[in-house]
């Protein structure tokens, strides 16, 4: 029960008044931006990231964790009230959540999603605490070849998860890897693909990618339809579910938590899969599957819990192996690097305050959402009533401020603009930006590990086959790619949305 002691130590760190305040501020701001339609957690964190630069490392990460959970909650609010999911995982919440809102049960849907998220967050926190040490010691036997193979598996998994064409997803990953090579070569320091421009000499910030591809590009897309959406005098109603509703939601919450916790640990953004998996499972287990899509509370409780548990356990690959499994975690890496922290197995031993404080603050962030943020739902609804013709102007200026605050570099705003045009073009040609971000996130690390692995093996690719762990991951990656191409499985995955 060593980890419980550590967790208690972490609580001590996270509970200091200033950290509690920062966590709360993070939750509030995260919800404020995250609730804006079309702005998912990636763009939200990218916009708010600079706010944490001035803080000490522990406080900064605690505030970021607050922002993250706030952003998640804001996203759920937007998809329940407006049926505009900010990110793909909120799509599932919108199915039954929005239906509940139309029946005048918006409050219950929001309430159960906050309660489910809190339960999921609590359990996932314990899971992280329990798994962190063993996984970190496992990471110590990993060499460059194993790391490279593991990241390859992550990318293969991302291809498997991508919606639409598998082939296009692979191209997206390659483009992401290519974008990650812009800037200095880490070994020789030679500049690559910078057009000789000083402002590209450090490469492209992941935050710019987040705001360009997911923030501004979404504004472009939304402006096409004009003022279609409105919060139609939605009655929020009571927030706290009654005993019957709680009983109906209890098991879905627990099952969702379990699913989400497991999927979140996988490299390659398995967390994205969690809400879909949970929704499918609940529909299969239900005695009355016909209610799903017509405002079934299980269809909100399960996926929301799964989503939150997955969001939380996706910290595990980052904190133990140093591999960010998705764009959100890559932003966390960005924040850590600014404070001189290199994510990886050494954090736990070298900076126990930071490590356990962060993990404890995840739980605290969830509690904040439930106790403080949920009652303020009226405020967020008011915000959603702002017509889009004004709201997008706000989104644009938030992105400008966010970008400028990172490096005080106006040219970064132009890079973001270029990425936004690119993102808009991607949607016009039915390419999905999510695999691109993962390729971008892992690209640099993969290059470095590949280089080191080949240096050790004297240029022989056999090293990836001779080393058993590496070989295992390579085989896994190939299996996943094959599975991704098999049509029957792809059909099964799309079935969730039928009827």
């Amino acid at each position: 029960m060593d980890f419980l002691q550590n967790l208690a130590h972490g609580m001590g760190v996270a509970m200091s008044p200033i950290n509690v305040l920062l966590c709360f501020a993070g939750c509030m701001l995260g919800t404020l931006i995250g609730v804006l339609p079309g702005i998912g957690p990636i763009a939200t964190i990218a916009i708010l990231l600079p706010l944490t630069f001035g803080l000490d490392p522990t406080a900064a990460l605690i505030m970021l964790a607050g922002i993250y959970y706030g952003a998640q909650y804001g996203g759920s609010t937007a998809s329940i009230l407006l049926n505009i999911p900010g990110e793909s995982s909120a799509v599932v919440t919108a199915l039954d959540g929005h239906e509940m809102a139309r029946q005048g049960r918006a409050g219950i849907a929001l309430g159960i999603s906050a309660i489910g998220s809190f339960v999921a967050g609590t359990i996932a926190t314990v899971v992280i605490a329990a798994l962190a040490s063993p996984l970190a010691s496992l990471a110590l036997v990993f060499g460059p070849a194993e790391y490279f193979a593991l990241m390859l598996t992550g990318l293969a998994f991302a291809v498997l998860l991508a919606r639409g064409s598998v082939f296009k997803a692979i191209i997206m990953i390659l483009i992401g890897v290519l974008l990650s090579t812009v800037g200095p070569d880490l070994t020789t320091g030679q500049l690559r693909l910078t057009f000789g421009a000083v402002w590209l000499a450090d490469g492209i910030e992941i935050a710019l990618l987040g705001m360009g591809l997911f923030g501004i590009a979404e504004v472009f897309r939304s402006l096409e339809h004009g003022e279609a959406r409105q919060v139609k005098q939605t009655q929020i109603g009571r927030l706290l579910p009654g005993p019957d509703e709680l009983r109906a939601a209890a098991k879905p919450i627990l099952r969702g938590t379990l699913l989400g916790s497991i999927l979140g640990i996988l490299p390659g953004n398995g967390a994205v899969l969690a809400p879909y998996a949970s929704y499918t499972l609940e529909k299969k287990l239900s005695r009355t599957p016909g209610r799903f899509g017509r405002g079934a509370i299980e269809g909100v409780a399960g996926p929301e819990s799964a989503n939150n548990a997955g969001a939380q356990t996706s910290f595990i690959p980052l904190l133990t192996l140093g591999i960010p499994p998705n764009a959100v975690m890559a932003l966390m890496v960005g924040a850590m690097t600014i404070h001189g922290i290199v994510p990886g197995p050494q954090i736990m031993t070298k900076m126990p305050d930071l490590f356990w404080g962060l993990i404890a603050s995840m739980w605290m962030g969830n509690l904040m959402l439930l106790v403080i943020n949920l009652p303020m739902v009226g405020l967020w609804v008011k915000l959603l009533n702002v017509p889009y013709r004004l709201m997008f102007v706000g989104i644009v200026i938030f992105c400008c401020i966010g970008v400028y605050s990172i490096n005080s570099e106006p040219a970064d705003i132009l890079i973001m603009a270029a990425l936004a045009v690119f993102g808009y073009a991607l949607s016009k040609f039915n390419f999905e930006p999510a695999p691109l971000t993962l390729g971008f996130v892992l690209g640099r690390m993969m290059e470095e590990n590949l280089r080191q692995a080949l240096m050790i093996s004297r240029g022989s690719f056999l090293t990836f086959v001779e080393r058993p762990i590496a070989a295992f991951f390579i085989v896994l990656a190939i299996v996943m790619l094959v599975v991704g191409i098999l049509p029957s499985i792809r059909r099964g995955r799309d079935e969730v949305f039928v009827d």
Binding site: I171, T188, L193, R389, L414, R451, S460
Partner: protein
Amino acid sequence: MSLLKRDAQGPHPAIRSPQNFVAGAFLIVAAAFVVWMLSGLPQGTLRTMGPAMVPRWTAIGIGIGGAVLVVLSFVKEGEALERWQLRGPIFVLASLVIFAAMIRSVGFLVAAPLSMLVAGFGSREVRPVELAIFTVVMTVFCAVVFRGLLNQPLPMLILPALSIQF
């Protein structure tokens, strides 16, 4: 089979998936451009990889992917090109350029309202008076929150003639 069906309806175009064709062609051109840009950098050997190794082979991979898309566009039925709505992007991009150009030279209190005013016209439903009020409110709000409360390094107003800079 599908080929016959099409012929029955009339002459079918050579390119059956314009979307894939354009995307593929673009990828080929972009990949070629990247390879050309990298031409001055050493690739190294597998044992000691040079700076150009990964980007070059990634670009070649993208080029091959583009070629496959182009070939597929002749073989497989696909979607037509989607329409681009230019109004939104043009105004928003202009507003981004304005913000980038002015934030350092005149400061946030001028750059923000100006760029917001321009961005607002990206919506077909723009109402100028409402927009003007909104930009003023937002400028004050952002100045108070980001500079005042959160202490972000945003230059607020720079007027060299009056030697104002804060």
